[in-house]
Symmetry: C2
Subunit: 72 residues, 2 copies
């Protein structure tokens, strides 16, 4: 549930930055497959990973857990 939202959030931030999953993966230092798993909410990055993602996406870690309420 939380993972799902987190993944969606990361995907949104990535698209906002006009990055492809492959580019994000390279910048973060992980595999493309893992980025896919994370964005789909199947896996969640470790705390160390969250830090890297936040850096690449130019946001604070807490912003990765900040969701807009009930869009749509």
């Amino acid at each position: 549930m939380l993972q799902r939202k987190l993944g969606k959030r990361i995907g949104d931030l990535r698209r906002a930055k006009k990055l492809t999953q492959e580019q994000l993966a390279e910048a973060v230092g992980c595999s493309v497959e893992f980025v896919s798993l994370v964005e789909r909410g199947i896996n969640a990055p470790s705390v160390a990973g969250l830090e890297k993602f936040s850096e690449v996406l130019s946001v604070e870690v807490k912003d990765l857990f900040t969701f807009e309420h009930n869009k749509r």
Copy 2:
């Protein structure tokens, strides 16, 4: 670095709630030793764990990553 801040934050929230490490551990469903490791910044909880900690401490997950700037 991030782990350290996270641990300090969790410790602060726990003390603010007048809880002992043992009580927090039981409420969260983990060992006392792990709570100690987390608060000292040696380990970080998984995302699922972060969720449990936040529930017990009555804050949002993002608040676990919200730090006050340069106290002291």
